[in-house]
Symmetry: D2
Subunit: 283 residues, 4 copies
């Protein structure tokens, strides 16, 4: 599949941006037309998807981005941003160290949840089903069994170790429902997500409510974003929190800030003090 480009130009080809002296176009649109006419979230869509979104689509994307900007300085990404800022690096470096930790465990649930929803939809497609009623429930149950068989203990996008109910999820789902009622999105993935919630409650014997990753995954799936792109969208959102906390920390006067105040030391669990074995080679 690997290309064999003959020139540096081909090696660096792109469909995103075109440039000549005095001219700059994104996906074919002159930059000076885009500026002032489209919002930041629409620009995110245009660059990642290739076309401009409908206004109703842009609103949903915007809601998803707004919901994910920050979850406090306990989150590793935000803690890293704050600590980095006290070490004498640029604010871009602090942001980079922060978003660099948005890996599979800290930033990946949305991506995993979109992929999970898409696999359920594929099960429905394979049987010519839409996303209604018993067919959905059956596809959800089958996919959740597959997940459990693969050893996955937590369904991505559901449950929260801190919030009994994540306050972002119901509000995001309300927006999806409104958009579905207006025909802006199909509502298929909202139905799938709710069927997952129902199946989870049935299996666990208690409600495991959708969290922000689940609800934004519904939005991203409804809008047609590929799973890997959804990680990127989450990164964009959380970058706002990283920036804000880095900036706030830069005003604090802390220097070389570690995870706990200097007067609290850690527990050492290694071997007791010992002598270096004799070194006979004279060094």
């Amino acid at each position: 599949m690997s290309r064999t480009p003959q020139t540096p130009q081909d090696w660096w080809s792109t469909a995103i941006v075109e440039m000549r002296p005095g001219m700059l176009r994104f996906r074919g649109y002159a930059v000076e037309e885009l500026i002032g006419q489209i919002g930041f979230a629409e620009m995110v869509w245009l660059l990642t998807r290739g076309e401009l979104p409908e206004r109703s689509q842009a609103r949903l994307l915007e809601a998803a981005l707004v919901s994910a900007v920050d979850h406090g300085p306990q989150a590793p990404s935000i803690a890293v941003a704050r600590m980095a800022m006290t070490c004498g690096v640029g604010i871009n470096n602090a942001m980079a160290s922060a978003i660099n930790v948005l890996g599979d465990v800290h930033g990946g649930a949305g991506e995993q949840c979109v992929a999970f929803f898409l696999r359920i939809a594929q099960r429905l497609d394979a049987r010519g089903e839409t996303a209604e009623g018993a067919a959905v429930a059956a596809a959800v149950a089958a996919e959740m069994t597959a997940l459990a068989d693969a050893g996955v203990r937590h369904v991505p996008g559901f449950g929260h170790r801190f919030h009994p109910v994540d306050p972002r999820a119901p509000r995001l789902m309300q927006l999806v429902d409104e958009a579905a009622r207006d025909g802006a999105v199909s509502g298929r993935f909202a139905a799938i997500a709710r069927a997952v919630e129902a199946e989870l409650a049935r299996r666990k014997g208690r409600k495991i409510p959708m969290n922000v990753d689940g609800a934004t995954a519904v939005i991203f799936a409804e809008l047609g974003f590929a799973p890997a792109l959804c990680r990127g969208l989450f990164v964009l959102a959380r970058s706002v929190g990283a920036l804000s906390h880095a900036w706030e920390e830069s005003q604090s006067g802390a220097r070389n800030k570690g995870p706990i105040p200097r007067n609290l030391l850690w527990t050492y669990t290694g071997p007791p003090p010992r002598k270096l074995p004799g070194r006979s080679d004279g060094e």
Copy 2:
């Protein structure tokens, strides 16, 4: 200046976000009220500034963000994003490596330009002047002389090595002028920037037009963003380009992509082949 917090809680205090089980507030606003009501750019403003912007302010911020998302794969940040993506890391890692290079030379012109404009404004303030006519010209000339005396050869925000006229700048300035006419901003920094352009032309004997960094600096200064925050806003904007290019590259099938195709090697300029000096110590 250093705080002496007594508890981990104080060590990690913040004015940005408040959280309890089931509750999440940003700057005092419940997240479920913000979602769907404010746009992504407004959320950027709220988190970094502490208050919500006026709609007209948000529009200007949005225009600045839209204008800075990307400048092609020749830019080091975007090249890094693309190369990283072929190395088998997550898209967040590719974005991190990319924005990590937005340092003083690649991403710092906007911040430097805001600081430059603010110093000119301070000269005017110190003399009780507004930003009109001869007073501006004098303050600009004085500050540019100070810059030259400090050895700065390129005034940040003016001139472009690729674009004779940067197509983003005039459009951004048009939006600033409209906002000033509507009373949404003062227009003071637009006047300062134009005076800089005039003074530059006078000194160099040819037009050195404002570039995207200069025009976004006008917007950021009009909106009251501190210089260091402006670097962060640029990082947010360019993150969109980094994400888009990383994603596009991930579809390309390239593996381990370096700066030039594999069949082109670099010029070696070091010493000719030579033998290792005798090692008498038996290793």
Copy 3:
């Protein structure tokens, strides 16, 4: 499996380092005893493994580290280091952006190869076999079939797209053989690696020689390093190249250096110029 620490001290417990005012111990050894007595590679071993290595073990580790420091500015990691350095960031930031791209595809072959060798050894262990003769060949063939069945097309650690024979591999294997002859290592993984090479030649009909990743994987496996640690060791080694190239580039005077010279532009492959669709909502 998650711990439930009751204090910040427990949350940050470690067996690597112990500290009190005026005292600093690594794995139980006072730092002032270690300094001047053990080499840098021995310190790497002590911190990652918990005990000091034998001198012969340290020599092998050292050889592996020396062999992997650099492979030229075409490698994405090194290119990133050089580009970053022209952007106005610190040398630590340039190194960070560089090693951040040492992912599964660019820096992961060693780790994958160690894991591959260990799986072969487990097949032998399961049957009570040492690493000799026909038993090795059978275990190798079985594991390679498993790899092929899993869709893996390139056996990690063998073959090189640039070097017909990677000059580092034979020399590293020579050192392993010497150490095995002296009883410093078992030689088991050297035998496994050579059996892989033989099986590969049989299957492909031509020699696919061991490369640097394969030979260092032999060393790491002989020395008992866990696969994930081997990625880390490679990162340490390549950091030397990243530092050296970043430093050299910092002397070059290049600013904002992208992948190709500024006068060469990329091939644009997107849509032709087009007008922005009418925006009826008055923005």
Copy 4:
């Protein structure tokens, strides 16, 4: 100063490494000769300096590297490494986020101290003085006054907020003294550093002893490393700690580890809960 390369090859020229199919040379030495003959620290020297070190020089470099590998999980770099590792990223990414924070405040003291020592040496050179007796004291006093006049409150390399006496410093100085006695280094910078210590004690009325940054700066200055390279050497050393702690943390089972245990929340210092202002524009 900027080069105007005509080809990609020239744009990526280097004096560090030469490569052809089957051939790989560093600074002119064939890699297969270097492997097994020189140690890791010697390779660091060769790549950064261009020539091989004397064995006695390599020993001093090695001691400096050994002394700086780690200072516990309270240090931001190490904390970042551990936190990153719980977020589901690769060990290279954890190391990158960690060393990325080794900025001016956290990792820069060594570099700053080398530069400080070099400025003192220049004062001596300018007056044709060696580093003995009264001349040194005068040059030190003059440079420290210059530092104080520039607003620098802490002389880099001296004093420690945790260790009354940093146990690494006396041991490192002992090695420098031995090397000076053997003629391997001049001892000039050891004399300068001690004169700084004496002058500091005189000015502050109490001993502010040399710390690890000061003592390694003596070594780096004696060995002729440029200040910016010294930051890089510190990064190499601390990468060992980052790797070790990331690896240890990966075995802990912690997920998404933040700076304090989950049951301890931060102090919120922002505005009290408040309602979103009325939004009349219908969004």
